[in-house]
Subunit: 697 residues, 2 copies
């Protein structure tokens, strides 16, 4: 990362170190906070993590600040409630004492003049379709593990230096792994998670109430009734040593209901020990993959703040991924961060840019599952549910976990939004991958979507202007919302909504291309006509007096919003020149949008006057990083004139939000108060990977 | 229960409502505290439990005090942090508003002039050997469920009354069970636990952020992303209705390591739904079994306090039981309460009286596993480990999870104690059940035990006096301890220990009988001789000046202890008249013990001067209920003259300790500060079932 020393003041943030598809994270990084192994959680675990060194056996331990003093369990056994809570007698390193650098696939701490180092690697890469991968390849890609190393350069030292890596979880005692697999030195919590290195000289196990100074030792020096565990590594004077670590997860058996499924990796690994052994055996291959990713990001033209945001977002994305196996086939899930909704379509459509680079089959499979199980027809025609369930529970066919009836605002239906999401995701997938076979197989769905879109404009063809304005009957006396439900009405209402209208324009542009690709010139021309009609309608919504578009074409709304251009990200991503040329087919609209954006990207409108951060809406301080990232990309590429100095300063603000505790307490956060930088929702969230788009600039 | 109205002031205590062998509890009862479904926990779960009624849809809910306001998850979705935490707007019933009565297999709350009732049943009975039970019988006995009912007598009412039973666990959203099994109305947490009734008229499902007044409802009236769930039952005006409930658990797949085993019930039930369905189908059979148990205890001659203690102890015992399946055979475990050590031998020897009544095969299987895997030989000969592991981790053969080297006091080895425990448990099992085949098969173990006992007295036969005084080499420079390790030295040191000496006497008496039963007259006579030698030695330890035995025959110790007579419980239980006749074989010893006890059972010695409760030792305020119960039994039967008025008042004190929050916060507690009644260890503990002995008086 370039210029990584520049930030750092007040830096304190969790990072999810996560395997691909295990819905699991080893989370640490927030200063003076516990973390550790978390399976299917909505935030960081609460284990003590011991990482550090001491320069000789009589020296004080120097530990990274990842633990809070656990309540000693010793007193529970001895009845002596005066026993002081261990661990104690160590120096908790302060942020000024160490340097941390987050790479795309690594998170590294250095201290003691760079002699001490600790790094967690979460290697990721292109994952082939699991339905077709050979077992060996599958084992590499799907192993539920992350790797790490700990090192000390003691070449100039006079005494042996000890290193520690350990985990303590007072209530959930861990067990020494060597009892079940003598090729592993480390500890595990039942069969669910654990950490290991290879046994050997210079590697010792520790377990006790106070793992730094164990008072009680059994025949092998441990006390297995105690909650705190660690590996102690010795680096002799005159040597530099780096020790590999593997951190693994394992969730056996069916983990979901509704659709009963198990983790794909359970077909490849017998148990946790097999995972850890595999990780140690393939350690250097995983390390190399992480290095490739780190270098790719570092070599990009993005600045340090932008690189940090992509790295942090990718870590939290991986932590939300879940590759299951159902009925003999892969079942792909991205869980929605702290909400843990399954394949929320609002996220799928935003993850598409990232997923098409690394696992395009995931996009295809999710689209198929939406068609097969999570689609429905209302009075206007076809649409799709907001999500597929929550917390490992797949909701019944045609029903989401989120959408309620008879209400306005949050928790209402998102019928128009999800219809657009299917069209946009589907065509983006098919055009980007060239998977024409899939496109052909789904032609009738696309046709039904187009029909449904038109009817949501108006059931009477003569009254259509392109704008979606007829709510689904599912809302009853309520009204449809958009994905921006928790912002103010400027983005929350679906009907006559600027954001959705431009997104609708994007959908018609994509349908025009898709129908052409399918050889249906009539349908393609029809879609093109609707796009043009809609663009014309939209230009008439422009307020000539103010030079802005209103956020909602109703009730004199005067909110100003940045997602006015979100709908252009799809044609931009697919390289559709005609639709994205400011001088082209939509030139009048582009001129208006340029004015809208140039005015909006000013402090007090869509730049927060206090922080300078980007705001989705001029009338709400709730702003969403993932959507900022899309807006930044579209604006930087299509409307560069709008990028004022103040607007360009946003990256530093957005990165500072994420790397300080206001968001950092929950790793990557999406919903943030633009004035304070404190998260107000969507914590531990995968969607920040929209920033991956920046690598295309 | 007789006189159940007498206590009650300040009553507030958790009870574990637990299936047989599932290591699981539905725990509620502590006032203003959450509880709910807990699997393999060391204390109560933290779920909100909704139980109550409202007299009409516009009336306020009247709820038992089993919930704390959960942090609303609504704000996490809406970004609105001002949303007040639901639930609210209900009346939390105060202890004065309801009556609670704990039966042997039921826990019942009544309110609204007895019109409202709620009861949790944990039926238990004689369980045949699981290795030989037929599937249908196994399903009945081993189903991981408890039952419950909720009712209202609305015969005089003018409006329909609503009843509620529900569970809320903010982070772990539950799912409606009907989606996977339409014969169930209720909710489940994944496949792990859940509650259900039969669907039908008058039964409604509720799920929301505020389950009492849900703001958001989906197509079926629920909001499945929200953490709080409930069943709402309607009792029409003019009717009395009782609704059955089943509360089930399910832990799939291997749950232990070291010895890899799964729950026995997983062989009988496919999943949680199958458990719940079975429970509803067999509801009345389970209810009848609970009624039989309740009546048995109520019909006993014990007073209300004693009955309460037995009932509460039995509930916590069941919560610690775990019937596994390993290598095609049953594997019996009792977990040690909050410590979760596996089959701690100190508990096995105390549970034997209860277990021989209900599942004698469990005693046999545990003894066999101690021989097969958890025995060892030191310089003196055979002995056994303190336990078999901890927290579902079976330690390596010959090693406990608890015992450490080179120390004095807690966490040291208990070689003498466990050797005695095997002898006492084995002969008690064989003599009580008449299982002579097993006794014969284990003759060589008994012979090895006798040899080991003698050598721990002194390796040189000429120097033997019967008292164990030679520590195992495993302690290194440390020293052996007894099960009373956390009391002061008066009970903690094994060598020359009064408690262990009388226990040794008990062991020789039992060995004398066992060898006679085995037809080995020589060995029997030898054991009898050693018993007599030991009794003589012991009488010489009596302090004629004080009229007491010292607790330790070393260093001028003058502590006075009640477990001086614990060793007599075994011959007493087995009806050995010669060894328990105060005028018989050990008459001189009995005279001394009578004096010891009569003096000890005075305030300021072994009755706490503040509370009046029984103290194990005059020099420690740490007292253990399970051991008090044994002492009470032995003293009431063999030394009735020692039962002063002050001593007899102990039952009320001990019951009050358990039913007020000092212990009640952790259900049955064993280690208690005798001055305050507050637990100081051994919480959520199974061993209180020693009180079952009282039913023999």
């Amino acid at each position: 990362m370039k210029d990584s020393a520049a930030p750092g003041k007040g830096e304190s943030y969790h990072v999810q170190h996560s395997p691909f598809g295990a819905f699991a994270s080893f989370t640490i990084g927030l200063v003076d906070a516990p973390g550790g192994f978390g399976q299917s959680l909505r935030g960081a675990a609460k284990q003590n993590v011991y990482v550090g060194f001491r320069q000789g056996q009589s020296a004080e331990w120097q530990l990274l600040p990842f633990l809070t003093p656990p309540k000693s369990q010793e007193g529970a056994f001895t009845g002596d409630t005066t026993v002081v809570a261990p661990p104690r007698g160590f120096n908790s390193l302060r942020p000024a004492d160490y340097q941390r650098s987050l790479g795309w696939a690594s998170d590294t701490w250095r201290a003691a003049g760079d002699r001490f180092g600790f790094s967690l690697l979460s290697p990721f890469g292109q994952v082939p379709d699991p339905a077709k991968m050979k077992p060996a390849e599958s084992r590499f890609h799907l192993a539920p593990l992350v790797t790490a190393w700990i090192e000390y350069d003691n070449r100039n030292g006079q005494n042996p230096v000890e290193l520690i890596f350990g985990v303590g979880h007072g209530d959930d005692t861990l067990r020494p792994l060597g009892d079940t697999d003598d090729s592993l030195a480390g500890f595990a919590s039942g069969g669910k998670f654990g950490y290991a290195t290879k046994p050997g000289r210079g590697v010792q196990l520790r377990q006790g109430f106070d793992v730094l100074a164990p008072k009680f030792r059994d025949y092998r020096g441990l006390l297995v009734i105690a909650g705190e565990t660690a590996l102690i590594f010795t680096v002799p004077a005159g040597q530099r040593k780096r020790f590999p670590l593997v951190l693994g997860f394992y969730a056996a058996g069916p983990v979901t209901t509704g659709l009963t499924a198990s983790y794909a990796y359970t077909r490849l690994f017998r148990d946790l020990e097999a995972v850890l052994g595999h990780g140690l055996k393939n350690y250097s291959r995983y390390e190399k993959l992480a290095t490739v990713r780190d270098r790719e990001l570092a070599a990009s033209r993005l600045d340090a703040d932008q690189q940090f945001l992509i790295a942090q977002a990718t870590h939290s994305y991986l932590g939300s991924t879940q590759l299951l196996w159902h009925d003999g086939k892969p079942l792909w899930v991205v869980n929605e961060g702290e909400y843990r909704m399954i394949n929320t379509f609002d996220l799928t459509v935003d993850h598409v840019f990232f997923e098409l680079a690394w696992q395009p089959w995931a996009v295809r499979d999710t689209l198929d599952l939406f068609v097969r199980r999570y689609s429905y027809r209302d009075q206007h025609g076809l649409s799709f549910t907001h999500d597929m369930g929550v917390n490992d529970f797949f909701t019944p066919a045609g029903r989401s976990s989120y959408e309620c009836d008879e209400i306005h605002g949050c928790f209402s239906h998102m019928t128009m939004e999800q219809l657009l999401n299917w069209v946009l995701t589907a065509v983006t997938y098919a055009e980007h991958t060239g998977d024409q076979r899939w496109l052909r197989a789904n032609k009738k769905i696309l046709v039904a979507c187009a029909d449904s879109l038109r009817r949501r404009d108006d059931p009477n063809p003569k009254l259509r202007d392109g704008i979606l304005k007829h709510d689904t009957a599912r809302v009853g006396h309520g009204s449809e919302i958009t994905t921006y439900d928790s912002l103010d009405v400027s983005l929350g209402q679906a009907r006559n909504n600027l954001y959705l209208t431009v997104k609708t324009l994007g959908a018609w542009v994509l349908l025009e291309k898709a129908f052409a690709r399918l050889g249906d010139a009539t349908a393609s021309a029809g879609a093109g006509d609707t796009a043009d009609l809609l663009a014309r309608t939209l230009t008439n919504k422009f307020e000539r007096d103010t030079g802005y578009f209103p956020a909602v074409f109703e009730k004199g709304n005067r909110s100003r919003i940045l997602p006015a251009v979100e709908g252009f990200v799809y044609p931009l991503f697919l390289g559709y020149k005609d639709a994205t040329d400011p001088q082209g087919r939509f030139a009048p609209l582009f001129r208006q949008l340029k004015q809208h954006l140039t005015q909006a990207l000013q402090p007090g409108v869509c730049l927060d006057p206090a922080s300078g951060g980007w705001k989705m809406s001029s009338t709400s301080t709730n702003t969403w990083f993932s959507k900022i990232a899309i807006a930044q990309h579209v604006i930087r590429v299509l409307f560069p004139e709008a990028m004022t100095t103040a607007a360009r300063a946003g990256d530093r603000v957005h990165a500072d939000w994420q790397r300080t505790p206001g968001c950092g307490v929950d790793a990557m956060c999406d919903q943030i108060r633009s004035d304070t930088g404190i998260t107000c929702g969507s914590r531990y969230y995968p969607r920040g990977v929209t920033a991956f788009l920046w690598l295309r600039e």
